[in-house]
C-alpha cells in the first residue's frame, strides 16, 4: 500500500487532536507515515503509533522555532523525497491551521502538486483521494481532487473521528538540509497564549458564543458560566471582539475560527453571513436573541426569543441542577 504523509501538529510532543483525525483519514487511502518536527518530536511517536502511524519521521533543529514556516517546508519536502524513493506517496495530509496551510501550499509549489485546503472529509477514489469542502459560507458542499502531482490536502479539525488502530510507529530520524531561504523570516519573540482551562474552540464538543448583545466585557462572565457548566469552549462574534470584550482568538466566523461542534449556543448574535460561515455546520444549533427576526433563528434547532440576561443565567442554573 502507498504511504500517506501526515504532518504532525504538536506542542512540545503533545499531539493535537486534529492530527489524530488525519491518521483516521489517512488510513482510508494508504499507510500513514507521520512527520513530526521541532522540540519534542520524538515524544509524539507513542500516541501516533496508537492511532495508526507505521513510521514516525522526526527532526529537531533550532531553525524550526526561530524562523517562520520555510524550515518546516524544507523538512516536509525531505520527508516527501524519502517517501518517494519507495514509490510515489498517495497524498500529503496537513492539519488546516494557519501555519499548516502555508506549509502545505509551499510544499505543493515545490513538488509541482495541486493543493486542496480545508477539506472536511476525504475518501479514496479511482483517480486519487476525493476531498469534500464547504463553499460560500458553508451553503455549498463540493467534491474535488488534485489532478497533478501527489495530492497535498489540508483538513479541518473535527472532520473525522479519532480511532485507536495500533501500528508499529517506528521512529526514524529525518535528515534535513535547510535551504538558503529557510532563515528569511526571523521569529524575534514568541508569547504563548495563556491557557484558560477550557476546551480548544475548534475541538470542543460544545461551544457557547456571545455577541454584541452581551454588551460589555464584564458581562461575558454569563457566557463563561454557561460554558463551564456544560464543559464547553467560549466563542464570540466579531462585533464582540472588535468592541474589545473578548479576545480575537475566540472569534467564530469567516475571519476567526470555524467550528463544527455537536452543540453551538449563540447568545446575542444576529447571525450575519460571515458569522454563519464559521458555525453553520454545527450539528445542533441553539440561539437566544431578543429580536425574533434575527437571521440566526433560520438556523436553529431550538431558539428562545428573549433577553439573554434572563435566559442564560436561568439555563446555567438548570444545567448545574441537572448535573447535580
Amino acid at each position: 500500500m502507498a504511504e500517506v504523509l501526515v504532518y504532525v501538529d504538536h506542542v512540545d510532543g503533545a499531539v493535537r487532536k486534529p492530527t489524530l483525525e488525519l491518521l483516521t483519514l489517512a488510513r482510508r487511502i494508504g499507510e500513514p507515515v507521520a512527520v513530526a518536527l521541532g522540540s519534542g518530536a520524538e515524544a509524539t511517536a507513542a500516541t501516533l503509533a496508537e492511532h495508526g502511524a507505521v513510521k514516525v519521521l522526526t527532526a529537531d533543529a533550532p531553525e524550526f522555532a526561530e524562523y517562520l514556516v520555510v524550515p518546516k517546508v524544507d523538512a516536509l519536502q525531505a520527508a516527501y523525497e524519502a517517501a518517494s524513493a519507495g514509490g510515489s506517496p498517495a497524498a500529503v495530509l496537513v492539519p488546516s491551521s494557519a501555519e499548516g496551510k502555508e506549509i502545505a501550499a509551499r510544499l505543493a509549489v515545490r513538488i509541482g502538486s495541486g493543493i486542496i485546503t480545508d477539506a472536511v472529509d476525504l475518501e479514496a477514489g479511482d483517480e486519487g483521494p476525493v476531498a469534500t469542502q464547504s463553499a460560500f459560507a458553508a451553503s455549498f458542499t463540493t467534491k474535488s481532487r488534485v489532478s497533478k502531482g501527489t495530492p497535498v490536502i489540508t483538513v479541518k479539525p473535527n472532520s473525522a473521528a479519532v480511532e485507536a488502530a495500533p501500528a508499529a510507529g517506528t521512529v526514524e530520524p529525518l535528515t534535513v538540509s535547510f535551504s538558503e531561504k529557510a532563515t528569511g523570516t526571523k521569529v524575534v519573540s514568541r508569547t504563548p497564549r495563556e491557557s484558560t482551562g477550557r476546551p480548544e474552540l475548534t475541538e470542543a464538543a460544545i461551544v457557547v458564543s456571545g455577541g454584541r448583545g452581551v454588551n460589555g466585557a464584564e458581562n461575558f462572565r454569563i457566557i463563561e458560566e454557561l460554558a463551564d457548566s456544560l464543559g464547553a469552549a467560549v466563542g464570540a462574534s466579531r462585533a464582540a471582539v472588535d468592541a474589545g470584550w473578548y479576545p480575537h482568538t475566540n472569534q467564530v466566523g469567516q475571519t476567526g475560527k470555524s467550528v463544527s461542534p455537536q452543540l453551538y449556543i449563540a447568545a446575542g448574535i444576529s447571525g450575519a453571513i460571515q458569522h454563519r460561515a464559521g458555525m453553520q455546520t454545527s450539528k445542533t444549533i441553539v440561539a437566544i436573541n431578543k429580536d425574533a427576526e434575527a437571521p440566526i433563528f433560520d438556523l436553529v434547532d431550538y431558539g428562545v426569543v428573549g433577553d439573554l440576561f434572563e435566559v442564560v443565567p436561568q439555563l446555567t442554573e438548570q444545567v448545574k441542577a441537572r448535573k447535580g
Binding site: L68, V69, E99, E102, A105, R106, A108, V109, S113, G114, I115, D118, V130, S134, A135, F136, S139, F140, T141, T142, K143, S144, R145, S147, K148, G184, T185, K186, V187, V188, S189, R190, P192, R193, L230, H248, Q254, T255, Q262, L263, Q274, Q280, T284, V286, I288, D301, Y302, G303, V304, V305, G306, V311, V312, P313, Q314, L315, T316, E317, V319, R322
Partner: protein, 261 residues
C-alpha cells in the same frame, strides 16, 4: 530610493448576495454583484500607511480577473493607491490557486517591487494560502497573517497572532506580507479620492505580455478539479419559543432531550 509596493486585490462576488457555482463549477461572477474583497481593503490600508511613513513610496494595485475586476482597482485607487495593473485574459478563467499565483508572480516581477501586500484570504475562495505561494514563487521572505505591520530601513516587522502564540516577525525587503482584519479599519474613499482615481493609470496585461502559455492556466492548466458542487439542504425549521420567564428552563429541557445534559 523609492519604496515600490504592490498590493494584490481580488474582485469577488458580494458575500451577502446569493453566491453559487456556474455550470463549469467555477464561481459564478455574473449573477451576483462584485466588489473589492473586504479583506483586501485592509491590505490597501496598510500599504497607504506604510507609504505615508516612507519618504518616497509608490503603490501599485494589482488584480487578476475579468473585465469587471476594474471596479476593485478603481476602489483601491480612490482609497489612495497610485496606479493599477489589470491582468485579464479569457484563458485565465477557471484558474485555481496555483495558476492564479503564477500569473500574479509574473505580473509582480514585471511591475517591479520591494514589498507585496495581500489580504489574509479571499472572501470567495477563502484559502488564505496565496501569499505564502507568492513568497515561494518569488523566492523572497513571507511575513504573513499580520495584525500589525511596519517598514523601516529596508526591514518589515510585524505581529502574527497564531493559535498557540503571538509572534513578532522580521524580514528584509523584498518580501511578501499579508495582513488580517485585525490590522486596523480601512479608510473610506473621499470625494477627492474618487475624482482623482479617474485619472490614475490602469495598465492592462494579458498572458502574452507575461510570457505565460494558455495551457499553464485556466481550468485546463489548474492542478485541481472540482467534480461536483451541491447546495447544502436548508436546515429543517426548529422550535422557537418566546421567553415568558421560563425560557432558560425550556432550553434546558431541550438540551436534556438531546442528551447534552
Amino acid at each position: 530610493m523609492s519604496l515600490r509596493i504592490v498590493v494584490c486585490v481580488k474582485y469577488v462576488p458580494d458575500a451577502t448576495g446569493d453566491r453559487h457555482f456556474a455550470d463549469d463549477l467555477t464561481v459564478d461572477r455574473d449573477d451576483v454583484d462584485g466588489l473589492l474583497s473586504e479583506l483586501d481593503e485592509y491590505a490597501v490600508e496598510q500599504a497607504l500607511q506604510i507609504a505615508e511613513e516612507a519618504d518616497d513610496a509608490e503603490i501599485t494595485v494589482l488584480t487578476v480577473g475579468p473585465e469587471d475586476a476594474k471596479d476593485a482597482l478603481r476602489k483601491a485607487l480612490s482609497m489612495g493607491a497610485d496606479k493599477a495593473v489589470h491582468v485579464e485574459d479569457d484563458d485565465i478563467h477557471g484558474s485555481d490557486v496555483m495558476a492564479t499565483s503564477l500569473v500574479l508572480a509574473k505580473a509582480i516581477e514585471k511591475t517591479g517591487y520591494d514589498l507585496v501586500i495581500c489580504g489574509m484570504a479571499s472572501t470567495d475562495g477563502t484559502m488564505g494560502v496565496l501569499p505564502a505561494i507568492l513568497a515561494e514563487r518569488l523566492g523572497v521572505p513571507q511575513v504573513t497573517l499580520l495584525s500589525e505591520v511596519s517598514v523601516e530601513d529596508g526591514t518589515v516587522k510585524g505581529r502574527r497572532d497564531g493559535d498557540t502564540a503571538s509572534e513578532r516577525l522580521e524580514a528584509s525587503l523584498p518580501a511578501v506580507v499579508s495582513v488580517t482584519d485585525q490590522s486596523g479599519e480601512a479608510r473610506y474613499p473621499s470625494f477627492k479620492g474618487i475624482m482623482a482615481a479617474k485619472k490614475k493609470p490602469v495598465e492592462s496585461l494579458d498572458l502574452e505580455d507575461l510570457e505565460i502559455e494558455a495551457d499553464e492556466v485556466g481550468l485546463e492548466g489548474s492542478w485541481t478539479r472540482v467534480d461536483s458542487a451541491a447546495e447544502r439542504p436548508a436546515r429543517t425549521a426548529g422550535t422557537i419559543v418566546k421567553d415568558e420567564g421560563e425560557g432558560g428552563k425550556q432550553l434546558a429541557e431541550f438540551l436534556a432531550s438531546q442528551k447534552f445534559i
